[in-house]
């Protein structure tokens, strides 16, 4: 017999262990964003319309990284946990749903801390100038965006079978990467696509991050509103529709 640890700590430890064992999560949340940042940072081939293309690229890639950890990684893992009856089994322990959710949130925060801890130094190495960055506003944007994306990821994960959920999350990731206003500017997208992209959380998060980090937002007030709406609607939808089994 030994001294006790808390249920939350036990669950958090389990979440982090599972995350560390899933190499594809590392690819999705860290390697792809870093590769995009390095490639487009070094080649300057994106039609950004910015004097310094890094001012466009860095906030966009950070938005992409936030989406990958908050939505795709969380959504895929949760979908499989439903499928493997992990959630069902945890449901009859003293853990409880609030602590399960807190463990998930902390796990995402840990991942995002690592993501930002790698992406920002890489961007600085690629001559990104962060002198005028408003870091508190950027953190607010990351938090709001994380809530919106997590709500969306869990909404999908809570309704679909694990395999369909996997395909849906990856498909959405690719779609938003290309058409969501994160690495390709709105004005370079076809008008109807751009109109939709501006209403998506990806485009809104990238835009408010550009405003916060490089004073280059396209329409920051509207983007904050769009992001806020997503951050309210998707968690509510998830709470109403999520199936634990």
């Amino acid at each position: 017999m030994k001294a006790s640890t808390s249920p939350l700590r036990a669950q958090l430890r389990a979440e982090l262990q599972i995350l560390a064992r899933n190499g594809e999560q590392l690819l999705l949340t860290l390697i792809i964003p870093v590769m995009l940042l390095v490639f487009f940072g070094m080649t300057d081939v994106l039609p950004t319309g910015f004097d310094d293309h890094m001012d466009f690229l860095t906030p966009g890639v950070i938005a992409l990284a936030i989406m990958s950890s908050s939505m795709v990684s969380l959504g895929i893992a949760t979908g499989f946990e439903r499928s493997y009856k992990v959630l069902k089994r945890l449901g009859v322990t003293p853990l409880g749903r609030p602590r399960w959710l807190i463990a998930k949130v902390i796990t995402i925060l840990v991942v995002q801390f690592i993501q930002l801890g790698v992406l920002i130094p890489v961007a600085l190495l690629l001559d990104w100038q962060a002198d005028d960055a408003q870091w508190l506003v950027a953190i607010g944007a990351v938090v709001t965006g994380s809530i919106a994306f997590a709500g969306l990821g869990l909404f999908i994960a809570g309704r679909l079978r694990a395999e369909v959920n996997l395909a849906a999350q990856n498909g959405l990731y690719l779609l938003l990467l290309l058409l969501g206003g994160m690495v390709i500017p709105f004005d370079k997208l076809p008008d109807p696509v751009a109109a939709v992209a501006k209403c998506l959380p990806s485009g809104a998060l990238a835009d408010v991050l550009r405003e916060a980090l490089a004073n280059g937002g396209d329409r920051p007030a509207t983007s904050w509103l769009v992001l806020g709406i997503w951050a309210v609607v998707t968690p509510v939808l998830t709470a109403l529709t999520f199936r634990w089994e």
């Binding site: 006790s4 640890t5 430890r13 493997y84 449901g91 003293p94």
Partner: protein, 322 residues
């Protein structure tokens, strides 16, 4: 494998249990899925210190009933009390006293055995001075050598044993086991049965859903047989078997049942060539059968009267295989 079952020694929560009062009470329970009535107005109870087997063919309503008791599923109507608590309303309190083994799954495939058990020991740690030790639990279920193996690399039997270790992490007062020995080899079955028996002897209430009638016969004190959402019979193991008497007859050569007089042929059931049984035989039937066999010079290898086996009882009640 650890033979002394040390993690189960003197669990503090079990010493206070009253063995005279039912710890699980199910009254007029109904579970409905759309138009399907999966559980149809059933009532039964279970006590501490006993292993209660829940038997029934697939789709009989066993798992639905157990999941209502565990608080996983809501009852459509009726009442369930587990350790005096409502499984849904008092979920938080009950979860600390209840161990659960699902029929399958419940573990992330990449999670290592030791990490899973450590996680579950931690989940039950809140507010306690002591928790079960993960390494001892793994040793108890015979998985010490597989402690670093991820769940997906474990055999079917090893997965079941790991799932049992997770249930034991709760140091439970009541434990629900859904097919605990499914896919487990002979040695593993013996270990699991020992653990279950030991837990019951210490005062835990064990609810065991199983298809393995042989297993139920070996370790259970009480039996509840389900079919089509209803409880067909409930009682002590011997009471259930004793309710039906069976005569077994084995002959050296097969009998021609068409040649038999009507008063005999209608009673004889051919279980296998040269192997027959007669259930609830009326007075005089066995004597008449003995005379008939003697007249035809048919040698008898065995003719004995006894209690029906649980399997016989089960087949008779449900009309099929478990």
């Amino acid at each position: 494998m650890n033979g002394d079952l040390s993690p189960l020694n003197d669990p503090p929560s079990l010493s206070r249990i009253d063995r005279t009062e039912p710890t699980l009470v199910v009254e007029q329970l109904c579970v409905r899925y759309g138009d399907l009535l999966a559980v149809d107005n059933i009532s039964f109870s279970a006590r501490a210190g006993q292993v209660t087997a829940v038997l029934g063919p697939n789709g009989a309503g066993k798992t639905s009933t157990i999941e209502v008791c565990e608080g996983i599923r809501k009852a459509s109507s009726g009442q369930v009390r587990v350790l005096g608590l409502d499984p849904v309303k008092d979920r938080r309190v009950l979860a600390k006293k209840m161990g659960v083994m699902l029929q399958d799954g419940g573990i992330y495939p990449s999670a290592r055995a030791i990490d899973v058990v450590r996680q579950y020991c931690g989940l039950y740690a809140s507010g306690r001075d002591k928790i079960a030790a993960p390494e001892e639990l793994l040793d108890l279920v015979g998985l010490s050598e597989r402690r670093l193996s991820p769940w997906r690399r474990l055999s079917g039997g090893e997965k079941q044993r790991l799932s049992l270790a997770m249930a034991l992490a709760a140091q439970p007062q009541i434990i629900f086991l859904d097919e605990p020995t499914s896919g487990v080899d002979v040695n593993g079955r013996t270990t699991i049965r020992q653990i279950i028996r030991r837990l019951a002897d210490q005062g835990a209430t064990i609810i065991l859903a199983t298809h393995e009638l042989d297993e139920a016969e070996k370790i259970c004190d009480r039996v509840i047989i389900f079919d089509k959402g209803k409880v067909l019979v409930e009682g002590g193991l011997d009471d259930v078997r004793r309710a039906r008497r069976v005569v077994r007859l084995r002959t050296v050569r097969p009998l021609d049942l068409t040649d038999m007089p009507d008063n005999l042929a209608g009673w004889l059931i051919e279980d296998a060539p040269c192997d027959y049984s007669i259930e609830d035989a009326p007075q005089g039937l066995i004597a008449a059968l003995a005379v008939w066999l003697s007249e035809r010079g048919i040698d008898v290898i065995e003719l004995r009267t006894g209690m029906a086996s649980l399997e016989d009882t089960f087949k008779k009640l449900t009309g099929g295989a478990p």
